[in-house]
């Protein structure tokens, strides 16, 4: 039996409010691509931090190439040959790629040497990057390439990747997998943290499944199905959503040629976006982060009021220059991507967080802004907590004391409870456990069935395929035309994410013309993406 590259034995780590890892054992062989599967909150990140030296375990041992090691900090990990590519990049925006990489390596190299090594490594692995560019000019995908090159330059024996594909287009994911397979063939072991079942089945030869801090299974994912993996990950089959066909009603939201220059130099200009959302339909906007979603949503919610008059209409009313409060009066309710800090105030209770978007508990609004009826507020919050099954101590619990999923359920509940005519939500289930995610997506579909117009912006294609009726793609501040979900495929959407939709439109129009002349239905598009 060859010596395992990495062996974790009964690792335990406790925090004041939770046991993050409990008796976790993990074995990675040389050259193996080993997945660590688990939903949000299962303890994957903590385990990786222990391996990388940022966190010390309370119990258990770590063995590297057969030797017991005590890794005190990331520098020691790097010296051993363990390298990590983080989910949230450890990059510094104002300095160049080369300087960033230099900071992640050991001191004895000079900047010139590092720059040359970057170019060499990039060519070897087909990762296109210019070492002299300041990092803030890079796209998110390019930033990840920098992180990967930085890791590769340490000639790692073990490379850890934490949710690497959340910021990549499907095509970029394929390219990444080519790099990883090459790396593995050279003897490097790879630890691949993810919750995306189809990726793990495609890439990895071994998998350890974590749930609630404990190992629930070890398997070979290429021989498992999505259903069996899901069972190990959450203890049950993934919940199914019923998607009823619906005939959309009148247009509730209309965007006509929205143009917005960026607010700060790291932002994206919105360049002529037009779209329409009708009552009773869910329109999805797909796209990798950093392509203008943030800016578009600021303009829609009213947090950015610079839109030219006439470009945004809600329910027929020109809302381009209206503030959030005024838009809420028109029936718009919005769930932002950031929960703590934007959707809710962390240090206030749930009841008071109601006041961010609901006015029902305010009496005499004309006098000094109005009087807060606290008892009514708390009652209202309690109703929402019960209706949306939010796990919280009560209406007075501080927002920050809730788990990510529960807080999101509360915020979504707060907005849905207002009976909106137009419901906009960004990243509805990011960082949320599977159960809550299913509940939230179900709530979105219920809203739609009840006749609300819904706009969903998300980076998770699976999610959009599940809930949307029509799909747009946003790329570099421009919006593609929409495609009915039945005709959308992962490949096509992936191409559109790079902005390549014009050809498609031409072809589609040509097909339509062909249909009109010949009188035969054109071939329908591809298949649905795998759930």
């Amino acid at each position: 039996m060859p010596t395992p590259r990495l062996q974790l034995k009964r690792i335990t780590k406790r925090y004041p409010s939770v046991v993050a890892n409990s008796e976790v054992s993990l074995t990675v062989m040389p050259g193996e691509t080993h997945a660590v599967l688990g939903e949000n909150g299962a303890g994957k990140s903590t385990l990786m931090k222990i391996i990388y030296g940022s966190v010390k375990p309370d119990e258990g041992s770590v063995q590297f190439n057969g030797q017991v090691v005590h890794i005190k900090n990331p520098q020691e990990a790097r010296a051993l040959g363990i390298s990590m590519v983080f989910q949230h990049f450890s990059l510094f925006d104002t300095i160049t790629v080369a300087e960033n990489v230099w900071l992640g390596l050991n001191k004895n190299l000079s900047l010139q040497q590092v720059t040359q090594s970057i170019v060499a490594k990039a060519t070897e692995y087909g990762l296109d990057i210019d070492p002299l560019r300041p990092v803030h000019t890079l796209s998110v995908g390019e930033m990840q390439r920098v992180e990967i090159i930085r890791a590769l330059l340490t000639n790692p024996q073990l490379l850890i990747l934490d949710e690497p594909t959340s910021v990549l287009t499907p095509q970029a994911v394929d390219k990444l997998f080519v790099v990883l397979k090459k790396l593995a063939s050279e003897g490097c072991s790879i630890l691949y943290i993810s919750h995306k079942l189809h990726e793990i089945r495609e890439l990895c030869t071994a998998c350890t499944v974590l749930r609630g801090g404990k190992v629930t299974g070890v398997c070979n994912p290429s021989q498992e199905s999505n259903a069996s993996l899901s069972k190990l990950m959450i203890g049950a089959e993934p919940p199914q959503l019923t998607h009823r066909a619906q005939k959309p009603g009148a247009a509730v939201l209309t965007l006509q040629n929205l143009i917005l220059p960026r607010e700060d130099q790291f932002g994206v200009d919105i360049e002529g976006v037009s779209l329409q959302v009708c009552a009773g339909e869910v329109v999805g906007i797909a796209g990798v982060s950093g392509n203008g979603q943030k800016e578009l949503l600021y303009a829609l919610s009213g947090e950015d009021v610079r839109a030219k008059p006439g470009t945004i209409h809600i329910g027929g009313v020109d809302a381009s220059r209206l503030h959030p409060g005024q838009r809420r009066k028109l029936g718009l309710h919005f769930v932002p991507e950031e929960r703590l800090g934007r959707g809710a105030v962390p240090t206030l209770g749930l009841a008071h967080n109601m006041l961010l978007s609901r006015q029902e508990a305010i009496a005499w609004p004309k006098f000094g802004g109005g009087w807060i009826r606290v008892k009514q507020l708390e009652r209202h919050a309690a109703e929402i907590i019960a209706r949306f099954k939010v796990k919280a101590g009560g209406p007075r619990s501080l927002a920050r004391s809730l788990s990510g999923g529960n807080l999101q359920k509360f915020i979504v509940g707060r907005e849905i409870d207002a009976n909106p005519k137009l419901f906009i939500v960004s990243q509805p289930t990011w960082g949320v456990d599977v159960g809550a995610a299913a509940q939230i997506r179900g709530a979105i579909l219920a809203l739609r069935d009840a006749g609300c117009a819904v706009l969903v912006v998300s980076e998770e294609l699976d999610e959009l395929f599940e809930v949307s009726d029509r799909l747009h793609v946003i790329s570099r501040g421009q919006l593609s035309p929409s495609v009915p979900i039945a005709e959308a495929t992962v490949e096509k959407i992936g191409e559109w994410m790079s902005g390549l939709w014009d050809d498609d439109v031409q072809q589609h129009l040509a097909e339509l013309e062909g249909m009109a002349i010949v009188g035969e239905p054109a071939q329908s598009g591809g298949q649905h993406a795998q759930a």
């Binding site: 409060g325 959707g343 004391s401």
Partner: protein
Amino acid sequence: MLKLEARPEPSKIWTYGSPVLALLITVLIGAVMFSALGKDPVKGLEMFFWLPIHNAYALGELLVKATPLLIIALGLAVCFRSNVWNIGAEGQYIIGAIFAGGVALLADASSTRWIVLPILLAGVLGGMVWAGITALLRDRFHANEILVSLMLVYVAVQLLSYLVGGPWKDPMGFNFPQTKTFESVTRIPRLFDGSRVSIGALLALFSVAALWVFLFRTRSGFALQVGGLAPAAARYAGFSSRKALWMALLMSGGAAGLAGALEVAGPIGQLTLYVPAGYGFAAIIVAFVGRLHPVGMVFSAILMSMFYIGGEMAQSRLGLTKSLTGVFQGLLLFSLLACDTLVNYRLKWRTRGGA
């Protein structure tokens, strides 16, 4: 070694206990300082903590000192809760005093007691104008309000110096830089005979109640605080940060100006170079030690007045300098900031190493 461990929920005990612990630490260091200066520490502490409260007259003096501190602190609490850092309350106090003094100087034999009203309103107006400059510069030019309001303090001091040494100088004042003593009719009415406590104390108490209602029961107060706690959430909710900025600065400027008017038309009775007594800065400490809460600030204002009176007594009876007051005040704030860590963190002994 000692390590800090985050608590899952802020500790209720320490939220109330931390100011007490901070006070104890300050007292301890104070005792050490007295000894180091060759003075009896017990006598020194007596000056600060017993004499100011040991009889009715002393209590009255305590209230006289606490009133301006409390009023200014109430205004500052609005600012700090909104994350607007108004450090120049001293300047707003001075300009409020100047405006009030200006109106008081207009009084003559024919004025009635009602002139007190315009005097106080003038004080409020003066403070608001001075704070308004800071608000304007931050609103229009994004200029940092800490630096602007602070620079304006120095400007206000010079302005006062100019007025009392020039156009407003008392012609019968032996050329001292001060105005004439105001007519008795302009004086803020006293509450009881035999004590210098004025209706200012009542105004202060009323303001405490008003602030409580504003902060905890009105939507405007709520909006201001969200702006300070989570600016992105305030933007999401549609709370105007401009409105919040102006409201916070005008309210605290007005409060500081009112305090200035009360002092100048009250205990001081004229405009002199000694009008700036540092209340604007001490009020910052009052606000923090009182946890920016209306009721808490009542207690911290009384505590800070004890430091002031203690300092004066230590000077007259023990021959120590009055600036001891500043030392104690600074120490108290330092200790409070350090002790506040215990609200959110626990101290634990952790042995080195792990796996």
